[in-house]
């Protein structure tokens, strides 16, 4: 139990997917303009990562390994993820049209969100057992949502502040990210 908790804390805070692994940068820059779409995006990514991890983990251990097809992992995983994102898109469109509009182009782009494929690959690479896989698949998108939310709150303030012209938009956002990365690196002492 303690080991699982350490794994969780490490994935959320210390090896944070955005600030120390730099994955999922596209939605990080694109959807972080206001806090409500940040939460929506976080929820969608969490759903996709957990679902896709379950599918790919099962697929790998019950189909690819028995038939010695491990080298096909990349191709099968990316297809599972693409199908799963399509499914999520249909669900959100049906139940929350407002959120669907707010996420816009970034919803289909979850397919190419590195975080999803990264978790699927990492579950295999690290040789996680089933429980570790579940904890890890939840922890990574929670870390993603946390940082995305904090970042979007800062960005709402940034919109009304006076920034030098060449730094407007993404460049100043990167500087903010640098400071957040510095703050998060201080958390490494936790574990």
């Amino acid at each position: 139990m303690a080991e699982l908790f350490t794994l969780f804390l490490t994935a959320v805070l210390i090896n944070n997917i955005i600030l120390s692994r730099f994955l999922g940068m596209c939605p990080f820059m694109g959807v972080s303009r206001n806090t409500s779409s940040a939460i929506g995006m976080g929820g969608a990514v969490t759903f996709v990562v957990v679902g896709a991890s379950l599918f790919t983990y099962g697929l790998y251990h019950f189909i690819l390994v028995p038939y010695s097809l491990q080298y096909m992992d990349l191709i099968t995983f990316i297809l599972v993820i693409a199908a799963f994102v399509q499914f999520t898109e249909m669900v959100i469109k049906k139940f929350s049209p407002v959120l669907y509009k707010a996420l816009g182009i970034y919803l289909p782009l979850i397919t190419t969100n590195c975080a999803v494929l990264f978790v699927a690959l990492e579950n295999i690479r690290q040789g996680f057992d089933f429980y570790e896989m579940i904890v890890y698949s939840f922890a990574v998108p929670i870390g993603f949502t946390l940082v995305l939310y904090l970042f979007s709150a800062i960005r709402e303030r940034l919109d009304i502040s006076d920034v030098p012209a060449p730094f407007k938009g993404n460049a100043i956002a990167m500087i903010v990210a640098a400071m957040m990365a510095l703050a998060f690196s201080g958390l490494a002492g936790l574990v």
């Binding site: 940068m25 080298y71 990349l74 693409a82 494929l117 990264f118 993404n170």
Partner: protein, 214 residues
Amino acid sequence: MNRLDNFKAGFIKENPVFALYLGLCSVLAISTTLNNAVGMGAAVIAVLVLSNVIISAMRKITPDEIRIPVYIVVIATLVKIAELLIQAYATELYVALGVFIPLIVVNCIILGRAEAFASKNTILDSAIDGIGMGLGYTVGLILISVIRQVLSSGVLNFSNPFTQQMIFEVRLIPQNFVIAMFSQPTGAFLTFAVIAAGVEYLRTRPAKKTKEVK
């Protein structure tokens, strides 16, 4: 657009890294040493050119509704081949780049160029576009990694990825004056932000001038 313009577009005006903000994940993560940057750049150029050529060759027989899954399968296959080749012939590089080699699949540049360019243009144009965009990406990557490596270790070196033989090594900053922070994530974000602001300044300035002339 003639072929030379097509080739040059990837460098400054539509530089995938600094102007379009594509493929940021890998740029920020592996730009710690020059070796990594060159290896990653070469892998991306190879995959991008081949995927552009294949997708362009199939553009008339690919049904519109399922084009994205088709592109993804093509790209994933090419990336897997690249991964296996790197693992076999340049093991050090394979270890250093780690999970970022399979993650080339989800590098937005490759799918983006397939969708925006290769699906509408001839094979030769698509290949040129792939080389131009890939070089633009590599140049951006090398720029960041040189700055980060020099600031964080004071040494700039490059070794042959196949034999590990050192090709050159120079110390530019004395050991006592290095800023170790630049090998950390913070340094990656800071370096990127400053370069992106510089590119933004260069891109917007000449545009104003030409307008005045007209």
